[in-house]
């Protein structure tokens, strides 16, 4: 899992990434700066619950991805099989460029999480 994150984090604009399970427990993480990783994992889980409920009740299918743009950074929360991939990005990042790498990483996490 750490190898997947390490490879992903080489992409320009990505500040770090982590993998959490659906209950918010951190499976692996790799950030360039100090982070409250356990807190981020817990928060990701609660956001996911809100999203799952909303999408189901307005017939938009299963959750696949949530991109939050904030005043300081962006974060993408991606469904990756049994796990969740969270990627922290610079605000100026070119989303078109990083989307492919994030998708590849999510697929790799999904594969690993089956094992």
């Amino acid at each position: 899992m750490r190898e997947i994150l390490g490879k992903l984090n080489k992409t320009t604009g990505i500040r770090g990434s982590m993998i959490v399970n659906r209950d918010g427990i951190v499976v692996a993480s790799d950030f360039s700066v100090e982070m409250d990783e356990a807190g981020m994992g817990a928060v990701t889980s609660s956001i996911l619950q809100a999203l799952d409920g909303a999408l189901k009740r307005i017939n938009m299918g299963k959750f696949t991805r949530f991109l939050i743009t904030g005043s300081e950074n962006k974060v993408v929360v991606v469904s990756a099989g049994q796990a969740i991939l969270l990627v922290l990005l610079n605000t100026e990042v070119n989303m078109g460029m990083v989307n492919v790498d994030i998708k590849d990483a999510a697929n790799a996490v999904a594969e690993k999480s089956k094992m």
Binding site: S46, Q49, G53, I58, G61, K62, I68, S71, N73, L88
Partner: protein
């Protein structure tokens, strides 16, 4: 601008950039304070207040930043009060009364809060947000029966109001009515499944009422039984009187729906009440508003913990479509679209509409 002015502005902008960069690396309370000062120096007091707010959220035990943030907020509240009073005179609408009352409440001006709410209720009796603020005041004063009256009225007008339902449940508990509290909390879980604070309150309410406590359920758990409370809440609420809706906002929302691939749009105020909507008839707009508010509330409340700063916008993707969520002028705009919508076109339309909302302010 003279050469000296230009040089001074260049120096301030460079300082801002350098401080922003330092904050990205290793944030400290001092850096937030310095950045706020630099924005103030550049004449941008709104940005300075935003920086202080972020700093306070990240360092809640740093006294200087908390003090400065409180000062900045007070100044902003005073300016906003003046603006709202003028706006109520020229173009009254129910949200303005509720917002003004909230500001008086934040400054501890209880009599003015009650007076503003009463005026708002008289002018717009079918808007639930004003009853909610009144209910909050009575809760603070521990006047439980009055609080129940106002909060029940708020919930009657908007069955999906998270704040009103939660507060009403807490008041029922104070009045030793745990079964009623449990029912209201179950109502919330329909549109905010997995909300830990609500689950905890529900557990206590059920224990007090002598009811069996269910194990916590996941949002994705389809086996969740629909309780009587949920049967009630699923009933499509009466269409709110159109005269309470702002025509310009409704037109703007309808305009968004004309973008190819957009299936609907909704504008919700800070209390979770629908301000304007254009959705498929199959979607209950009150429920959609509540779901969007819940997603927004969860994301915005945790954005600092996620290291993104203050929430600005979100894009939720499901396998059958997308939801674009934007925070604009203390309201939440959500646009529902098919997965194949042209993002560039949609984002431009959303920004145009957001610009219109801000200009109206």
């Amino acid at each position: 601008m003279g050469l000296l002015g230009f040089f001074s502005q260049w120096r301030t902008n460079s300082k801002i950039k350098s401080l922003e960069s330092a904050l990205q690396g290793r944030p400290t309370p001092v850096l937030y304070l310095q950045l706020a000062d630099a924005h103030k120096e550049a004449g941008n007091s709104t940005k300075a207040a935003q920086v202080l707010k972020l700093g306070a959220a990240r360092f809640p035990s740093a006294p200087e930043i908390i003090r400065r943030q409180a000062e900045a907020e007070k100044v902003e509240r005073e300016n906003e009060k003046k603006r709202l009073i003028d706006k109520i005179q020229s173009h009254p609408n129910p949200i303005l009364y509720a917002r003004l009352a909230e500001l008086y409440k934040a400054d501890g001006q209880i009599e003015k809060t009650i007076d503003t709410c009463q005026k708002g209720v008289k002018a717009f009796p079918k808007y639930g947000g004003t009853y909610l603020v009144l209910g909050q005041i009575y809760v603070e004063k521990k006047q439980w029966p009055q609080a129940v009256t106002e909060l029940e009225k708020s919930v009657e007008l908007d069955k999906y109001n998270y704040l009103a339902l939660k507060l009403l449940a807490q008041v029922y508990m104070e009045l030793s009515r745990p079964a009623d509290a449990a029912q209201r909390l179950e109502d919330i879980l329909y549109f905010a499944p997995g909300d830990e604070a609500i689950l905890e309150l529900l557990k206590k309410a059920k224990e007090s009422a002598g009811q069996p406590v269910d194990p916590p359920r996941r949002a994705s758990d389809d086996s969740r039984p629909v309780s009587k409370a949920n049967t009630r809440i699923l009933k499509i609420p009466e269409k709110k009187a159109d005269n309470q809706r702002d025509k310009a906002l409704n037109d703007g929302v309808a305009q968004l729906r004309t973008v190819q691939g957009v299936t609907g749009a909704i504008l919700v105020d800070q209390y979770g009440l629908v301000v304007a909507a254009d959705l498929d008839a199959s979607i209950d707009e009150g429920l959609a508003g509540a779901l969007i508010t819940n997603v927004y509330r969860t994301a915005a409340a945790n954005s600092v913990k996620l290291n993104v700063g203050e929430f600005e916008e979100g894009l939720v993707e499901g396998d059958s479509g997308n939801i674009h969520i934007l925070h604009v002028d203390e309201m939440i705009l959500a646009v529902f679209a098919k997965a194949d919508v042209k993002m560039g076109l949609l984002e431009k339309s959303i920004r145009d509409f957001a610009g219109t909302i801000i200009q109206r302010k």
